[in-house]
């Protein structure tokens, strides 16, 4: 009996530790993402914030070309930056992001600032893709 009980007790300790680790990991992740979202919202213009609250994206105007870009929720789409024409049609998708493992909100904020303040440099490092057909379909609302 004793060895079995000891084994069960040890398994319980391991299980509790695993649960604690998982909990800490989830909380850290939630916190990181939540903080990224909060920072993004703070730095969006009132119009961009309203747009992002209403849809899965907000729009920015490139400082060099005056082109319009739609920055989609990075959690949902990648590549998430789409150049749009005056009719709201996608022309091309761009993929660039800050180095490192950042929260989705942080990535979107860096993309916004880069396009609004240093568009040419941002696009110089970006990879170009064809627009996502599925995304085009979901945003024709």
């Amino acid at each position: 009996m004793f060895p079995v009980r000891r084994f069960t007790s040890q398994a319980g300790v391991w299980g509790a530790e695993a649960v604690r680790k998982l909990y800490r990991s989830l909380v850290a992740q939630i916190t990181k993402e939540a903080r990224g979202r909060r920072l993004l919202r703070e730095w969006l213009s009132p119009h961009q914030r309203a747009q992002f609250d209403d849809k899965d994206y907000f729009e920015v105007v490139g400082c060099d070309s005056q082109k319009r870009y739609r920055i989609y929720d990075r959690k949902l789409y990648a590549p998430n930056v789409h150049e749009v024409d005056d009719a709201g049609q996608f022309k091309v998708a761009w993929c660039f992001l800050p180095a490192g493992r950042l929260a989705a909100g942080d990535i979107m904020l860096a993309q916004k600032i880069a396009l609004e303040t240093n568009e040419d440099s941002a696009l110089a490092v970006a990879k170009r893709f064809a627009p996502r057909p599925d995304l085009m379909a979901t945003t024709r609302r």
């Binding site: 850290a28 916190t31 990181k32 993402e33 939540a34 903080r35 990224g36 920072l39 730095w43 213009s45 009132p46 990648a78 590549p79 993929c95 660039f96 992001l97 800050p98 180095a99 490192g100 493992r101 950042l102 929260a103 942080d106 904020l109 860096a110 916004k112 600032i113 880069a114 609004e116 303040t117 240093n118 440099s121 941002a122 490092v125 970006a126 990879k127």
Partner: protein, 73 residues
């Protein structure tokens, strides 16, 4: 209080400092140069919400945001 916000793997790290404290300002300026020196971009926003990049330390900026260099995805 002014604050420097640095994007990192935790979401962001915040470094508040008193712009009237010469020692704190010197420390903030050092952090600015260290971060921009390794490729971080520094940005500030005006009261109206307009964002601009800064290439030199501005002790009067209420909030300076730093993000790592951009890479193609």
């Amino acid at each position: 209080m002014a604050v420097q916000i640095v994007m990192d793997h935790t979401g962001d790290s915040r470094y508040p400092f008193n712009p009237n404290d010469a020692q704190a300002v010197a420390k903030a300026e050092k952090r600015f140069h260290e971060l921009t020196g390794i490729g971080f971009t520094a940005a500030v926003r005006s009261a109206s919400g307009e964002v601009s990049q800064v290439r030199s330390f501005d002790p009067t900026a209420e909030e300076t945001l730093f993000f790592p260099r951009l890479v193609g995805g």
